[in-house]
């Protein structure tokens, strides 16, 4: 253990090293570390914010979905009611139309029947005239007996 000038030199070197470290190494490194820490903190805060927003959006989503479902049910109910009404109306319309067709057919049939009767009457009158003619062996003047024939036709 003998002290000599080495002591002074080492102390000077130590001072120089401290100066260098405090001037060129420590501040930039700490700045980098602190900047990164801040960035990480900001990132975490942003993540937290994002998660909150996501939760809010999900809540809003659920609300909108429930609303849409309610609206859908309402629309379906209206549609079903409309369908039932339409069917009912259609049935009534169809029945009325059917009745009308049936009535028309019936009227036509009656008309046909009347016409057939008319023709039959004519035919019978002619037949009666022809028969009478044959019986009388004499031409019956249709003109003379027109009144008679018309009377006969009415009676038939």
């Amino acid at each position: 253990m003998n002290f000599n000038l080495t002591l002074i030199m080492q102390a000077v070197a130590f001072t120089a090293f401290i100066w260098f470290c405090g001037r060129f190494i420590w501040p930039p490194l700490m700045r980098a570390i602190e900047t990164r820490q801040k960035q990480i903190a900001d990132g975490l805060a942003a993540g937290e914010q994002g998660r909150k927003e996501l939760a809010n959006a999900e809540k809003r989503d659920a609300e909108m979905l429930a609303e849409a479902k309610a609206r859908q049910a309402e629309i379906v109910a209206i549609g079903e009611k409309f369908k039932a009404e339409t069917i009912e109306q259609a049935k009534i319309d169809a029945k009325a139309e059917g009745d009308r067709i049936v009535a028309a057919a019936r009227a036509e049939i009656e008309q046909e029947v009347a016409r057939a009767k008319e023709q039959l009457r004519d035919a019978v009158a002619e037949l009666a005239v022809a028969g009478a003619t044959k019986i009388l062996k004499k031409d019956v003047d249709t003109k003379v007996h027109a009144e008679l024939l018309a009377q006969l036709k009415r009676d038939l």
Binding site: M1, N2, F3, N4, L5, T6, L7, I8, M9, Q10, A11, A13, F14, T15, F17, I18, F20, C21, G22, F24, I25, W26, P27, P28, L29, M30, R31, A32, I33, T35, R36, Q39
Partner: protein, 266 residues
């Protein structure tokens, strides 16, 4: 062993001799060239490495090297923050410098003494001691620098008057009868701080070096002894990793504590 020795004490003596160059008259005016050169190289390597990393430091995703450096810096910074509560921004860089430098200087102990002696011999250098912290000049230089900084911090925070007053009124109290005792106590404290600070490091590393040398002497007893010496050296080297880091850590912690104490008001 590169050279042959007459006796074990000569072997140890040889390994414990500094390469000394006188620069003036008297015992003080000498320089231990090995200590100065080795410690300067180590300081340049350590701080240069940190500086290179710092120059490329990014606040984005750090490289592995930067992450490693940041780990060391963060570790030092945490220690400083938990002990020192003053305003100075220089305490942390001082602690980092001390830690890096002392670790590297202590770690020179891992270099095998005889192989290093052989390598130094190739360059015509004899008596080159590799471990700067096993030189009492280095540890005292560091401890006295810290001591001076402690006084500077004290005067800066309390003013020259307040600092001088504290020499007499602390720790026992402000009473004229107590002044001499206070002053005596403070002087003892002032002497003991740098003394224990430097001698703790010096003693540990010097002892470590001596044990390496003693284990190395087994090699003088033949082949079996050489193998035995190798095993023992390995064991001691592994244990020495702990001592190297622990002593550097303690030295750094004491540096921070002393600087904090210097600024503290009693």
């Amino acid at each position: 062993m590169a050279a042959s020795y007459e006796s074990p004490s000569e072997y140890i003596q040889h390994h414990l001799t500094f390469l000394t160059k006188p620069v003036g008259d008297g015992g003080f005016w000498m320089i231990n060239v090995d200590t100065v050169v080795t410690s300067l190289i180590l300081g340049f390597i350590g701080l240069g490495f940190l500086w290179l990393v710092t120059r490329r430091a990014t606040s984005g995703v750090p490289s592995k090297t930067q992450a490693f450096v940041e780990l060391a810096v963060g570790f030092v910074n945490d220690q400083v923050k938990s002990i020192y509560h003053g305003q100075s921004l220089w305490v942390a860089p001082i602690a980092l410098t001390v830690f890096i430098w002392v670790v590297l200087m202590n770690a020179m102990d891992f270099l095998p003494v005889d192989i290093m002696a052989m390598i130094y011999g190739w360059f015509g250098i004899h008596n080159w001691r590799s471990v700067p912290t096993a030189d009492v000049n280095t540890t005292f230089a560091l401890a006295l620098s810290v001591f001076a900084l402690m006084i500077i911090y004290g005067i800066k925070s309390k003013g020259i008057g307040g600092w001088t007053k504290e020499l007499f009124v602390a720790p026992f109290g402000n009473h004229p009868l107590l002044w001499p005792f206070n002053f005596l106590f403070q002087i003892v404290e002032f002497v003991s701080k740098p003394l224990s600070h430097s001698l703790r490091l010096y003693g540990n590393i010097y002892a470590g070096e001596i044990i390496f040398l003693l284990l190395g002497m087994w090699a003088a007893s033949g082949l079996v002894g050489t193998a035995f010496s190798g095993v023992l050296n390995l064991g001691w080297a592994i244990f020495h990793i702990l001592i190297v880091l622990l002593q550097a850590y303690i030295f750094m912690m004491l540096t921070i504590v002393y600087l904090a104490m210097g600024e503290e008001h009693h």
